[in-house]
């Protein structure tokens, strides 16, 4: 258990949440193969990692297979409440639940909140031409001034008019293509595909 804990601490500190998910999944399968389970701290980190990587489906399934006793653990019950709020798209309630709980591990909850705020701001800047500042502040779980500052820091603000923030029109990013492992934005990849199609049709 101590090996996995050290590895998880390292990845959590580095913000490598994808690695945290992978390591937790592998560890859980191996311990279950031997008929055992992880402890409460392990499952708390595991759940939080799923939420930070926005994998709500697997977070729900993880909660369903939690060993007896761990689901009612202090931090886990708060994490589950937060998961339900995210699942039902109730973001103001999510931030309230995170802020209200006294966390045993004080580092992971801020990471989750920031990840959700970043995703929410990206979604709103993509989905809205204009939105009320107070609505944006409510879903980010911050004050209206803080919401404006965050949006300006992301360079998505076109203008602020009264109580409304206007976002810049989002452009679809040009997809980079890969030819033999080298990322390229030229037409080489398209040419390669066309050659394959022509050879196939000739055959």
């Amino acid at each position: 258990m101590s090996d996995i804990q050290d590895k998880l601490k390292e990845n959590v500190a580095a913000g490598q949440w994808g690695e945290v998910v992978h390591d937790c999944e592998q560890y859980e399968l191996k311990t279950q193969m031997r008929g055992g389970n992880g402890d409460a701290a392990f499952y708390n980190t595991f759940m939080i990692a799923y939420l930070i990587t926005n994998d709500l489906d697997n977070a729900r399934f993880l909660h369903k297979r939690l060993p007896d006793g761990i689901a009612k653990d202090g931090d886990m019950s708060a994490i589950w409440l937060a998961t339900q709020c995210l699942w039902n798209k109730k973001l103001p309630e999510f931030h309230a639940a995170i802020s209200a709980h006294q966390w045993q591990n004080p580092n992971i909850a801020p990471a989750l909140q920031e990840a959700v705020r970043e995703r929410t701001l990206q979604l709103y800047s993509r989905a809205y031409l204009s939105v009320a500042v107070k609505d944006l502040a409510a879903v980010l779980g911050v004050s209206p001034d803080d919401a404006l500052k965050r949006a300006e820091a992301q360079k998505v603000v076109k203008k602020v008019e009264g109580d409304f923030i206007h976002f810049q029109a989002s452009k679809a990013p040009q997809k980079a293509t890969t030819v033999d492992g080298v990322v390229s934005n030229t037409g080489m990849n398209t040419l390669k595909k066309l050659c394959n199609h022509v050879l196939f049709m000739e055959k």
Binding site: L29, Q32, D57, N58, R65, L123, V131, Q174, H197, F200
Partner: protein, 430 residues
Amino acid sequence: MDGIINEIISKNKKGDLESLKNYLEKNQSSLKNNVGHISNAITALEPREHSMGICYLLYTKAVHQPDQSFVSNVELFFDSYNASQIRDRCADKFATIVHKYTEMLRNVKQPARGIVRLQKIINTFCERSSELSPVHPDFVLLCLLSKNYKVATVALERTIYDIDPKKLGVTPKDFMMYYYYGAMIWIGLKDWDRAYNFLVTCITIPCTALSAIVVEAYKKFVIVSLITQGKLDGPPKQSSNFLQRNIKKFCNEYIEFANAFKAKDQQKMTQILQQHKDTFESDKNTGIINQASKKFIHQAVQRLTSTYLTLSLSDIATNVGLTNAKEAEEILLLMIEEGDLNATINQKDGMVSFIDGTQTSVMDVIEEEMDNARHIVQQLEKMDDDIQVSRDYVHKQLLRDPSTREEIEEGRGFKGKGGKMLSRAAELFQ
């Protein structure tokens, strides 16, 4: 029992596995009479070296006395068995062991215990990732029971082309269960396209009678069709005539719901849900039907994009049958987040602007589909080549040709050019 063990050890030493197989087949009744001693007998054998022998012993135990030690015996065997001894010789018995192991884990409520082992067996028992084995459905079942849906996707994402009952012991039931359980995994992960493909594969198995698996799969197929395509066109064209004529009487409630969905009659859908609530609950399809009801709203919004470039939130709410503009805004935001809709919301004016999909994204989809089609055609060509050189096909073709059939039937040699070659071919394939 000692005699059997000694025979296993000596024949393995000589490398005479065919002879060992014949011996074990003939002595199955003796094994049955000594089933209580099998756990002790196995300790005298090496799993890696005596895999076929242990397979027969564990098979006997699985059929006649699967006691508490069976699971640990099987796990020790699985951890270091030699798949080459099992394939083509006793694959059906190996399948029985795997099925019994899965059943026992299920009974003691420890399904997660077998996931890593069965995953490893799929990789070692199958020589190619495109092969279907009897281990596949049990692996997916354990993932379902233990709520480890993500682990199952590693196997489910492989495309299955090769199904060889003699080599790997796979049966039609294994085929149907794999695709049915696989569809349930994809439904849980909300990958509706893959769930649809898996359900189609399950229900289009050739049949002259309806199995319970196909009936349950068809019920889910009806609902998933509504989610992916907005309608149900009936059973797939490639399904058997028997299914096409008889399936409806087993899932009337689902067909009714699908008809109301297709007619865009939300009130009728709600009425049917209430009326047949018990049926849907007992079939454990309530969750997926609720998903279909949500998708009904999303599809109604998507239909608006073909008529309007901009529309107010309140008009969207009225057209789609929602309570108010706020609810419409929430649904639009959800659809934009999930990638089901390209639109922007102007909250200040209460207006929504619908945007066409970019040309780049459409071209990417077309190219990906063309690549998939090319890959599948290459696989089909390879399968066609394999069939053309197979023993049964060549013999059948020789018999079909009137000029060669007579000679084969009368046992005379062929005449004329190439006659000697054909004569030799006929001898080989008789």
